[in-house]
């Protein structure tokens, strides 16, 4: 899949959305704070908004070219859109909602059968109900299934998890992963949640105040933010692949490069995970301290010290690369020097496990 957006300019209330990028991955996250223009960007791609200028091409099909006055009508674009409020049709049953996109096109065979989609998303038992009788998570799955059943060439998801509370969010993520792996439809997914992006996307486009500030593979953008603004938004200094050894009492024991860590167990059971630790959550300590509530106590060696404004970024070798952010004064007090041993403390809730 290739989605190309060139010379896009769309005046919004407080700024002008100006973007220029191309994505080629299967799932791309459009990441940014609220009000950055993410939804407007999806609306432009879907054809629901007209830009002052834009060239939008999906694979070899030009969807919008303002210079040549080309604009493929929304209903002929073949782009599935699941908006943040889901927009399920309240006067239709779940079945009729699901089949709404089926009756339209008529051309060609549908990509997926009704049974397949409803099976994968586990909504078979819901089809005879009214949409007003569904719970939040069920509505989400029905909206996703409705978009898929219209056989889209591209799927646009606007904050698919934002309206759900935490436990429900973790239940929906596996369904989104299934859509990614089972149906293999190129997806543009708007999110402002780092972990959502990590769990779902291959590539990321970081959008701030209507401008793209960085694009690239997710781990790269998260570990090597292009500037301070992106760093503030996304930075997770330590991202390491790990495997869950066991789970008990809500805690997971994870092995990262043969170092064992204790973290809160993720809701979705997955053996392979991405271990995420933010630099400010790593505490450095000189002495092998007495008992404390901290679950992870790692013997490490300081590899490098890099000042970043008021903070110092400390690169450690704890059996795997680990980064800590400490204040300059703390750095001086601890008398940190390259090559010296140090103890790194990380509380279990500060270690985030993202299923892969």
């Amino acid at each position: 899949m290739s989605l190309l957006l060139k010379n896009v300019s769309l005046p919004l209330a407080h700024f002008t959305l100006k973007v220029d990028f191309e994505v080629r991955s299967r799932v791309t996250a459009v990441f940014g704070p609220s009000g950055a223009g993410k939804t407007s960007l999806l609306d432009l791609v879907a054809g629901l908004r007209a830009a002052r200028s834009a060239f939008i091409q999906l694979d070899d099909c030009v969807l919008t070219d303002t210079a040549k006055s080309i604009s493929v009508p929304v209903h002929q674009r073949g782009i599935g859109y699941v908006p943040q409020d889901l927009a399920l049709f309240p006067h239709l049953s779940v079945r009729r909602n699901l089949l709404y996109g089926r009756k339209s096109g008529g051309a060609g065979d549908p990509l997926f059968s009704f049974e397949h989609v409803t099976d994968v998303l586990e909504i078979q038992p819901l089809v005879s109900r009214g949409v007003t009788e569904l719970s939040g998570g069920e509505k989400q799955r029905v909206a996703l299934a409705r978009a898929l059943l219209a056989s889209p060439r591209l799927l646009l998801l606007d904050e698919p998890l934002a309206s759900l509370d935490s436990p429900l969010k973790e239940k929906i993520i596996p369904y989104l992963s299934r859509i990614r792996d089972e149906f293999r439809i190129p997806t543009l997914c708007v999110t402002h949640d780092r972990f959502e992006a990590l769990a779902l996307a291959d590539e990321i486009v970081v959008l701030v105040d209507g401008r793209v500030v960085q694009t690239g593979p997710v781990p790269e953008v998260f570990t090597r933010p292009a500037n301070a603004e992106v760093a503030r938004l996304v930075a997770i200094e330590t991202l390491q692949p790990g495997s869950v050894i066991r789970m008990s009492e809500g805690l997971a024991t994870v092995s990262v490069n043969r170092v064992t860590l204790t973290a809160l167990a993720p809701a979705a059971t997955s053996h392979e995970v991405l271990v995420c630790i933010r630099g400010e959550d790593v505490i450095l300590q000189r002495d092998a301290a007495s008992a404390s509530s901290v679950r992870n106590r790692l013997s490490a060696r300081v590899l490098s010290l890099r000042p970043q404004g008021a903070l110092v970024r400390v690169e450690l070798d704890a059996g795997f690369p680990l980064f800590a952010l400490v204040t300059r004064s703390a750095c001086a007090e601890l008398n940190l020097r390259e090559g010296e041993p140090i103890t790194a403390l990380i509380k279990a809730p500060a270690i985030h496990l993202v299923p892969r």
């Binding site: 009508p73 782009i79 006067h91 709404y100 219209a150």
Partner: protein
Amino acid sequence: MTGEDWHVVWFTAWVSASSTLAILPFGLALAWVLARRNWPGKSLLETFVSLPLVMPPVATGLILLKILGRRGAIGGWFHDQFNLDIIFTWRAVLIALGVMSFPLLVHFARVAFEEVNPRLEQIARTLGAGGWRVFFTITLPLAARGITAGLILAFARALGEFGATIMVAGNIPGKTSTLSLSIFQNVQLGEDSHAFRLLGVSVVLAFAAVWSSQFLMHRKCKTK
């Protein structure tokens, strides 16, 4: 109730229902345009459409009389082309009732359309539905309750119309006489008991219209 009274009742119900149905497509089209489109000078059209609601009905009737008369723009054309008269015929009653109830229908239908979340229409389009399909499968069903309310009020307004009708259609027994005109005439002639009988029929008609539509709407909600 005499045979002539029953004729008046039947004629009033028929002409009110016909005028309401006749303005329905135009009313819905205008209401949709006002609800979903913006253009410079839109408020002028909105004001113009509302005029029959606020102007004295007799004044509206006078304007219609001028336009629909044999020497009027529309009436003259009909007379020349089809040798058809509008003034002082049932056609004039139909038009007068339609014009007087049009703003009510447009107002209610417009509010009903505005209450339909545009996002639903947009998402229906992303699912491959063209403009007409979106209108008939999403917009119209979701606005149906408001539109039904507008239709009932337009019908009720037509049932009770007096001023404009008497200007353009007079009160010709057996031809253009409606319930309101007959009640007025009977009171004028001192036949109060006759007028009260027609009044009773008016109440029954109005009650039946409003009650049956409410019944329909409740049933519709339950079957959803």
